[in-house]
């Protein structure tokens, strides 16, 4: 039976702004299935985003939704969560939003291990502003501001999150659509900062410039570069060249920020 997404979508707010073939829609559907499988209460769930194509997601879904400023989603979400720790807080946004302008907020939310689920839509490019390179655009690739090929090295977002202190980090791609909801659901259930990186595609501003003839070509690439962590352990460094690991990359139990602050309150109140 077809899954009933309508239950979580806002009536009258579709069609969305995403281009045909954009991976963000696949990621949104994954997020909805994850929320449903975790049984989250709509009234008690906030979805926070920054600015970019990916960040338009909150407008379409029926929760407490907060579309903020470019790069600042994690910081707004920190305020929401701190002030109301009983809320489920989910952050969504693009790679540019989260790791360029928002890099500082992103790493500090990871460091605090505050209990939120950050789904980062990594399409390797700035979609909304017309395809300028992001910190995740592969070196050498074309973008509207790297006409001679991108000279910059890239961020590995998942490694960045692990290094910064996130206690649940997972990665998948929009080709592996059924894995998206499973990983996000695991992230939601995890107490602490959970980062789920979803590699997806922007046919309009990235694919076109980088000789992907169709969305199918882009999907094929996502399929080819993804290697599940278990399989990777049996592969040589040579075989892993140009690949990205998918699945749960890191998991750890560590004190969560709001719980730590609850101890501060108890101490201040003389406990």
């Amino acid at each position: 039976m077809a899954y009933d997404y309508d239950k979580y979508l806002r009536p009258g707010k579709l069609p969305h702004i995403w281009c045909p073939g954009c991976g963000h829609g696949i990621a949104m559907k994954g997020l909805i299935r994850a929320i449903d499988s975790c049984g989250l209460d709509k009234n008690n769930t906030a979805i926070v985003s920054g600015i970019g194509c990916a960040s338009r997601l909150p407008g379409y879904v029926d929760f407490n939704t907060l579309h903020t400023a470019h790069g600042r989603a994690a910081a707004f979400a920190t305020g929401v969560k701190m002030a109301k720790p009983e809320m489920n807080v989910i952050v969504v946004g693009g790679d540019g939003d989260g790791t360029a302008i928002g890099g500082n907020h992103f790493i500090h939310a990871c460091r605090r291990n505050i209990d939120m689920t950050y789904v980062i839509f990594n399409n390797f490019i700035y979609g909304m502003t017309g395809g300028q390179f992001s910190p995740c655009t592969p070196t050498g690739d074309k973008a509207s501001t790297t006409p001679y090929g991108n000279p910059d090295p890239i961020f590995d977002i998942s490694k960045l999150a692990i290094g910064a202190g996130a206690t649940f980090v997972a990665r998948t791609t929009s080709f592996h659509a059924t894995q998206i909801d499973k990983l996000i659901a695991e992230g939601i259930k995890h107490k602490g900062m959970a980062v789920i990186e979803v590699l997806d595609d922007c046919p309009t501003t990235y694919g076109r410039r980088n000789k992907f003839r169709s969305v199918v070509d882009m999907m094929k690439r996502l399929k080819e570069i993804a290697v599940p962590v278990a399989a990777a352990s049996k592969m040589t460094a040579e075989q892993l060249k140009g690949k990205v690991l998918t699945g749960v990359l890191y998991k750890e139990e560590k004190p969560e920020y709001c719980e730590q602050y609850a101890k501060v309150i108890a101490k201040a109140q003389g406990a």
Binding site: R10, K13, K42, N43, N44, A46, V48, I51, P58, G59, D62, F63, N64, T65, L66, H67, T68, A69, R72, A75, F76, A77, T78, G79, V80, K81, M82, A83, K84, E86, M87, N104, H105, H108, Y261, V264, I265, K267, A268, Q269
Partner: protein, 379 residues
């Protein structure tokens, strides 16, 4: 029963004023000369179950304050010149999304790092024009420690009542000076909470103007689900580029503060010997204390000087200053910058009388003698 009294710094008084107003969230980033506000609240907030967070920077601090406010908390940040510059994009966000919050700006010299430990009144125009786009601004400029306490309470009240960011600006002199403070008892000062929706959740629109120019604001997690964005939006909170919505909303957001009734409610001034004044001194914050002293001394010498001290700086007291401009011979505007509010006084007086600036940016206060000398020169 005698009131509780204490010898407090301006910054400490600010923190206690915030607590009196019901502040339960502080998000900040340290910067001189504002840090004591954060330090006191880091100590006091957890005692009442409130939250204090030191964010990674001022932008993050402002973001956390807006996020917290949307859950229903009364939220505050405190900073100084360069910190306010960083917050500006999000101050605009709080304006357009109509999210109540309070920003304390303990002013220092500038531009840039300027004089971190010196006093300045250098952000009075930044407070009005710092963020991009057209919007209304409420900014208060207390001049003593007691007034910092009560104006911080009023800032929260205005933020809640008008659903917007409110700035409190005072300079390092009042921020760091110690004065005797009388703590008001609960109920002595008015404390206002934002209007909450009474309609059923399905009917709630966060910008529903059928409830007036300031629509009720639901809290995240209270059963009302709604969308908040920094984009131009229709009454339901969802983005629109339709000309009539955008125009109406922008005008309403300015009208809710600058309309006549709102101005009468928000504007607050202190006039001293202005009835028969021939020379009017327009001064605010610490500078107004020197000006008051100067007025007293000048009166002793038979010179008819008077003081106009705005306590609400924005919206600017246009009507009253225009009227006084027609009555007096000269207006003198001493301030710890090179003539920022002087510009505004000139704009409003429209040439009815000369407006003379006394500007100072060397890190020293403007003393009464300097003001007296200027008055005598023009008299």
């Amino acid at each position: 029963m005698a009131k509780k009294v204490a010898l407090l710094q301006g910054n400490e008084a600010c923190a206690h004023g915030a607590l009196y107003a019901g502040c339960s969230f502080f998000g900040g980033y340290p910067i001189t000369p504002s840090t004591e506000v954060a330090e006191v609240l880091s100590n006091e907030l957890p005692k009442i179950g409130g939250k204090f967070i030191q964010m990674e920077d001022e932008i993050g601090a402002m973001a956390s304050v807006i996020g917290a406010s949307l859950t229903g908390a009364k939220a505050l940040t405190a900073t100084s010149g360069p910190g306010v510059s960083l917050k500006q994009e999000l101050i605009g966000y709080a304006c357009i999304a109509e999210v109540p919050c309070v920003i304390i700006n303990v002013m220092r010299g500038g531009p840039s790092t300027g004089m971190p430990t010196g006093p300045g009144q250098s952000d009075v125009q930044q407070a009005k024009w710092g963020t991009h786009g057209d919007h209304a601004t409420i900014a208060l400029v207390p001049a003593s420690c007691q007034e910092i306490f009560s104006e911080t309470v009023r800032a929260f009240n205005l933020a809640e009542k008008y659903r917007m960011p409110v700035q409190v600006l005072y300079d390092e002199i009042v921020g760091h000076m110690r004065e005797r403070i009388e703590f008001p008892e609960p109920g002595d000062l008015e404390v206002i909470d934002r209007a909450k929706p009474t309609v059923p959740p399905e009917q709630y629109k966060p910008y529903d103007t059928s409830f007036g120019d300031v629509p009720p604001l639901a809290a995240f997690g209270s059963g009302y689900r709604f969308h908040v964005t920094g984009l131009n939006k229709a009454q339901d909170g969802f983005p629109t580029t339709k000309a009539e919505y955008v125009d109406n909303e922008e005008r309403r957001q300015i009208r809710k503060v600058e309309g006549e009734a709102a101005r009468a409610d928000i504007e607050k001034n202190d006039e001293y010997l202005t009835e028969d004044a021939e020379v009017l001194i327009f001064a605010y914050g610490s500078t107004s204390r020197s000006a008051r002293y100067a007025v007293n001394e000048l009166r002793k010498e038979g010179i008819k000087a008077g003081l106009f001290r705005p306590i609400t700086l924005w919206p600017f007291p246009e009507k009253r200053i225009a009227a006084l401009g027609k009555k007096v011979k000269t207006i003198i505007v001493p301030e710890l910058n090179l003539g920022q509010m002087n510009l505004e006084v000139e704009r409003v007086v429209k040439g009815a009388c000369p407006v003379i600036s006394i500007g100072r940016v060397d890190g020293e206060p403007i003393n009464p003698g300097q003001i007296m000398a200027q008055v005598k020169e023009v008299k």
